[in-house]
């Protein structure tokens, strides 16, 4: 199973290396979202408008919402990442090739999830830097931020790959995936935001409970995906 996972993961990453779709399209999309947040929310922040002379003075509204905005940007990018991950399998019916390959479905699930995890983590690092620059986000406890982000991404990826496979055969997959994905992922958004706020404030102990929620979530959905992926491929 792990061998199969490794194979699929390597294949997906190699495709990304060649096509650079995530890098060239999804990442800029995340950036656009960040900028739009700045425009939409920064506007209400009278301080930053009035003191236009004080070059980088970003005001309270954006700064206090930075963690949440960061995660919304990541989630929006994640949906596109999931769609891309399954678009790969749908081109030229490669999905049939996977079915014919007699690879372990659990391995395929873990492999696809692993590749997506890696891509999303890279994406998050860059978006996080964006948040630091654009929103004036200052992370006091970096390791805690990283831990929370990793666990949250694990959950995003697990749910994403399950729903990606669930909808990838459908004609309406582009619209259906976000509808299914976002409500289910809501607790992850909440927990990740709270944990990251704790990291920003430099009080990891207060964010520990959210790490637990994220852990529980990631565990549940990774287990479910591993078990359920076989029937999902057989559509």
């Amino acid at each position: 199973m792990l061998r199969d996972a490794f194979l699929v993961c390597e294949k997906d990453l190699r495709i990304e290396l060649k096509s650079k779709i995530i890098f060239n399209q999804v990442l800029p999309f995340g950036m656009v979202v960040m900028l739009l947040f700045g425009l939409a929310i920064g506007k209400f922040d009278s301080n930053s408008l009035v003191t236009a002379s004080g070059s980088l003075s970003n005001g309270g509204a954006l700064k206090s919402a930075a963690a949440g905005l960061f995660w919304i940007a990541v989630m929006l990018s994640a949906v596109i990442g999931v769609q891309r991950s399954f678009a790969i399998e749908n081109q030229d019916q490669a999905r049939d090739a996977l079915r014919l390959s007699a690879l372990d479905p659990a391995g395929i699930f873990l492999g696809k999830a692993g590749a997506l995890l890696f891509q999303l983590v890279v994406l998050e690092v860059i978006i996080a830097f964006g948040a630091v620059f654009l929103f004036g986000m200052h992370i006091a406890t970096v390791w805690f931020f990283c831990l929370a982000a990793f666990l949250a991404t694990l959950s995003l990826v697990a749910v994403g790959v399950v729903y990606g496979a669930l909808t990838s055969g459908a004609r309406t997959k582009e619209t259906l995936l976000p509808l299914l994905f976002f409500p289910v992922i809501a607790p992850v958004l909440l927990s990740a935001t709270k944990a990251c706020e704790a990291a920003i404030a430099g009080t990891p102990s207060s964010g520990m409970i959210w790490i637990e929620v994220l852990l529980a979530f990631a565990f549940c959905y990774l287990a479910l995906g591993t078990v359920a992926f076989g029937p999902l491929l057989e559509e």
């Binding site: 729903y163 299914l180 409500p183 607790p187 929620v213 999902l232």
Partner: protein, 298 residues
């Protein structure tokens, strides 16, 4: 015409079940009328909430039905997934119950919001229960959309079961995370209008109880109807499928008779039957071999 042997199809809704559904429907209607009458005109206003207490006879029963509906849906999903009890009936029940559940979730939010406005002064508050309910509403809308995707019944059932399971695992996680979220923040104190501060008068208690009974009966009636609808659709799709099979067999027979040059070889079943679902697994009409058989399908 179709060759489906209806006698061979196991009938789920017997005459008795249908009569029972009708009786439950009538009972539900009568008890609802009684609840409304008692709630609006007979019971006295509450000493704290005044006339607003009259929403008490509607909102909690609806919320209760919502929980029952999702509970039933979850149980039947589990029963479907469990290999020993795997049966399309459970899939249908899960679908029916969650659709009714979505309706009642919408009503819970609606009536709660209408009640909340005069009581708390706000249409909406980020209370754990409210937030969870709202997310539940969206989540199950997605689940219903997933159920509507085409595919043969077994595939659809499996797909929906997995989707439903994902959604259901989420419910407690959502609830507790929102609970902790609010308790970490200083939550605006939301008073629960049912507990503590309200004296439940004798007639009020009976009316509330009647409300619970009435809405539960309504739920049963709705689910029975919805289940029946699903079952009928399933049978109808099988009729369509059967016709499509006969059509194709005729095609094969034509081929035998007229040879490869005949134009009509392009399958017509595609064009004539729109997208619908069916399952040949239970067909009783496949006995005769097509190969070498020109008699098929007339």
């Amino acid at each position: 015409m179709s060759e489906v042997n209806f006698a061979a199809i196991p009938q789920v809704f017997s005459k008795r079940a249908e009569t029972a559904t009708k009786i439950i429907g009538v009972l539900a209607l009568l008890s609802l009328i009684a609840t409304v009458w008692l709630g609006l005109f007979v019971t006295p206003p509450d000493q704290f909430m005044g006339n607003l207490v009259r929403l008490l006879y509607v909102h909690p029963p609806i919320a209760w039905v919502m929980f029952v509906a999702y509970g039933v849906a979850f149980l039947s999903t589990l029963l479907y997934l469990w290999p020993r009890t795997r049966d399309l009936r459970f899939d249908r029940l899960a679908g029916a119950s969650s659709e009714v559940g979505v309706i009642f979730t919408g009503l819970t939010l609606l009536s709660g919001s209408i009640w909340g406005r005069p009581t708390w002064g706000t249409w909406w508050t980020w209370d754990p229960l409210l937030t969870t309910t709202a997310l539940l509403f969206v989540m199950y809308l997605g689940y219903l959309a997933l159920r509507r995707l085409p595919g043969d019944p077994e595939t659809r059932a499996k797909r929906s079961a997995i989707g439903g399971l994902v959604a259901f695992i989420d419910v407690p996680i959502v609830y507790f995370s929102v609970l902790w979220w609010k308790s970490l923040h200083q939550a605006p104190t939301v008073l629960d209008p049912v507990t503590g501060k309200t004296y439940i008068h004798g007639s009020m208690a009976y009316t509330l109880l009647l409300g619970f009974v009435a809405f539960t009966l309504l739920y049963v009636y709705f689910v029975a109807k919805r289940y029946r609808l699903e079952r009928l659709k399933y049978l109808y799709d099988r009729v369509l499928l059967d016709e499509a099979i006969q059509e194709r067999k005729r095609e094969a027979a034509d081929f035998k008779a007229y040879g490869a040059d005949k134009k009509s070889l392009v399958p017509t079943a595609f064009a004539e039957n729109g997208p619908a679902l069916g399952d040949a697994r239970f067909f009783g009409t496949e006995e005769e071999s097509v190969v070498g058989g020109g008699e098929a399908g007339r």
